[in-house]
């Protein structure tokens, strides 16, 4: 009698195996190779260092430098992380240590919903609603309060437009709070309750337990959450496309329009008319891919380290 099962067995194994290798290895590799291949013209013309350090982005004269975009991406991400980090840790503390159980579920659901709202909605709301509030209320207020202080005042110079670094970073920070808060919350949940209880037994207050037991224990998880959200913020496109203003310059104050890698890609891909222009855009996406890949791998390693320690 002919036995089908062993053949199905082998087939299943290799068939599933192919897709597993495809998803984890071939697929990222294809992305890298295609971006690399398409950006060959720009790589030949500008090289690596010149492309990264040149500040001119002029499609008419075909001179392309990525510094304004890279600087814009890094600045907006950095400010967003600074705003989001303490708040996410606060939310995680509230959820794990403070909230009664009925409120806990509600807050967790709300934070998850905040993560589920599509980025275009953030962008649209930011552009039509928040930018106006920022222009008319918040930014003039910040200017009058912080303007006279030397150094800090300079950050708030210029005409408040609402479409600038500050608004972009604020919206970005709202978008990454859910990711950061959920990673930090999961890390906090990993702390064995024996450790917390022993600290309580010594007479520590809740805050001392959090500060001296929970946070040191979960440091690598918190760092992983921070870096993970950095990776998210770097690649955020639509919200930033509405709010950045798309001016290829390195912003000197928080109230100036700027651009990021993703905004440049979103706005210019459809209008790239020469091969070199298109190739430079692919070069930009290659840089974005590499930066975010490295950052995300770092985040992953940190979270894995925490999990390993917990398993021991």
């Amino acid at each position: 009698m002919f036995q089908k099962s062993p053949y199905i067995e082998t087939f299943t194994r290799y068939f599933l195996g192919f897709w597993a290798v495809f998803t984890g290895f071939i697929f990222p590799l294809i992305i890298f190779l295609i971006l690399f291949y398409e950006s060959r013209l720009a790589i030949q013309k500008f090289g690596f260092l010149q492309f990264l350090t040149s500040t001119s982005w002029d499609p008419v004269r075909e001179s392309f430098g990525a510094l304004p975009m890279i600087a814009g991406t890094l600045i907006s991400t950095f400010i967003a992380i600074i705003i989001a980090a303490p708040i996410s840790i606060g939310i995680a503390i509230f959820i794990t240590e403070l909230a009664p159980s009925w409120l806990k579920g509600f807050v967790i659901t709300c934070v998850e919903l905040l993560a589920a709202i599509p980025s275009i909605i953030y962008g649209m709301w930011g552009f039509l609603i928040l930018a106006e509030v920022m222009r008319n209320k918040v930014e003039p207020f910040l200017q009058t309060v912080l303007g006279p202080i030397p150094l800090i005042g300079k950050l708030f110079s210029g005409v408040p437009t609402g479409v600038d670094v500050l608004t972009t970073s604020l919206v970005l920070s709202i978008m990454i709070i859910p990711f950061m808060a959920s990673v930090v919350k999961d890390a906090f949940n990993l702390v064995p309750s024996v450790m917390k209880e022993s600290a309580y037994g010594l007479g520590a207050t809740k805050w001392e337990v959090i500060k001296d037991v929970v946070i040191p224990y979960t440091a690598s998880g918190i760092a992983g959450g921070l870096i993970l959200s950095t990776g998210r913020a770097l690649g955020e496109t639509m919200a930033v496309a509405f709010l950045a203003g798309n001016v290829p310059q390195i912003p000197k104050s928080l109230l100036e329009p700027f651009t990021t890698i993703t905004v440049a890609l979103a706005n210019q891909f459809t209008e790239a008319d020469t091969p070199l222009y298109l190739s430079s855009l692919f070069y930009l996406s290659l840089i974005l891919f590499i930066i975010s890949f490295i950052i995300l791998i770092l985040a992953k390693l940190m979270v894995l380290r925490l999990e390993k320690r917990w398993k021991k």
């Binding site: 099962s5 998803t23 971006l35 709202i117 599509p118 980025s119």
Partner: protein, 286 residues
């Protein structure tokens, strides 16, 4: 002296806990602001014409978004059909065959990283693969870009759901002489089906709100189109274009469209959350 120190500690404790309460309120504040504005404007501008008419000429107060709703549906369904099997296959392999292999452990973590890759990169890749050779924007490229975004999400959730299935269940089947493919089909997938469904719902929720990969793959148009080798309008790209336009009427339509889209996605997320919860209760009872 001791008393003052203790008061200080107690005060600091209260202060920090109060600050963490404020942080939670801060998060809720933005959520309710965004959803509130969305509901208010969305309800106000929702109309029958939105679903029954195609785009009107710019500047005139006529027209709807039927073409965008239909296009969005086509692109989403197409990418779901392509994305789900690949993600499922990979996830099953990682959980069932690759669990003790270092190589597949690394691949699984790379897949984890791919979940957070900037979505616009997928658009750029598909632009190179499908738009340049075909010489014009097409909906197929958009659908494939979204499918590529979806694969890692489904793969990771499938993996996580499958490793929750107790190993004793598999061993029982092995003892009866079952083949591995029979175990996967009849034991593992059957007991993890709620979890896998959750993963699929999350994947659909993730891609239906994406704009960036569609901007220069599916592009946009202003009429009803079913040809996947031609540009096709999607809700998200249309919202982007309409919001950036100077016309009040288009802004209003963008609000209404965002309202529909957001609540579709939020409901999907809530269903997924409910399913996870329900699945856990089910497991504990057994």
């Amino acid at each position: 002296m001791e008393k003052i120190r203790q008061l200080k500690r107690k005060f600091l404790n209260k202060l920090m806990l109060f600050l963490s309460l404020l942080a939670a309120l801060y998060g809720l504040f933005w959520l309710f602001w965004i959803l509130g504005v969305l509901c208010f404007n969305g309800f106000k501008y929702l109309s029958i014409e939105l679903f029954t008419q195609d785009a009107g000429p710019p500047g005139l107060n006529i027209g709807g978004l039927r073409h965008a709703f239909v296009g969005h549906l086509i692109i989403t369904i197409l990418s779901t059909i392509i994305g789900i099997p690949i993600g499922l296959f990979a996830g099953i392999y990682y959980a069932e065959y690759g669990r003790n292999s270092k190589f597949f452990y690394v691949l699984k973590n790379i897949t984890d990283v791919m979940v957070s890759t900037p979505s616009i990169i997928m658009g750029a890749v598909m632009y190179a693969l499908l738009v340049i050779p075909l010489k014009h924007f097409n909906a197929l490229a958009g659908a494939l870009a979204l499918a590529m975004l979806m694969v890692p999400v489904i793969c990771v959730t499938t993996y996580e759901m499958l490793i929750l299935v107790p190993f004793t269940l598999r061993e029982a089947a092995y003892a009866l002489g079952a083949y591995k493919w029979q175990i996967i089909k009849d034991i593992v997938l059957r007991s993890a089906k709620v979890g896998i469904l959750t993963g699929i719902i999350l994947g659909v929720a993730r891609i239906s709100g994406e704009t960036a990969p569609l901007l220069f793959t599916a592009f946009s148009n202003n009429y009803l189109s079913f040809d996947i080798f031609k540009p096709m309008a999607s809700l998200t790209v249309t919202i982007f274009n309409y919001t950036m336009s100077p016309y009040e009427y288009w802004h209003n339509q963008a609000w209404a469209a965002s309202f529909c889209l957001t609540f579709f996605i939020l409901i999907l997320s809530l269903i997924a959350k409910f399913l996870i919860h329900y699945g856990n209760i089910f497991k504990n009872k057994r």
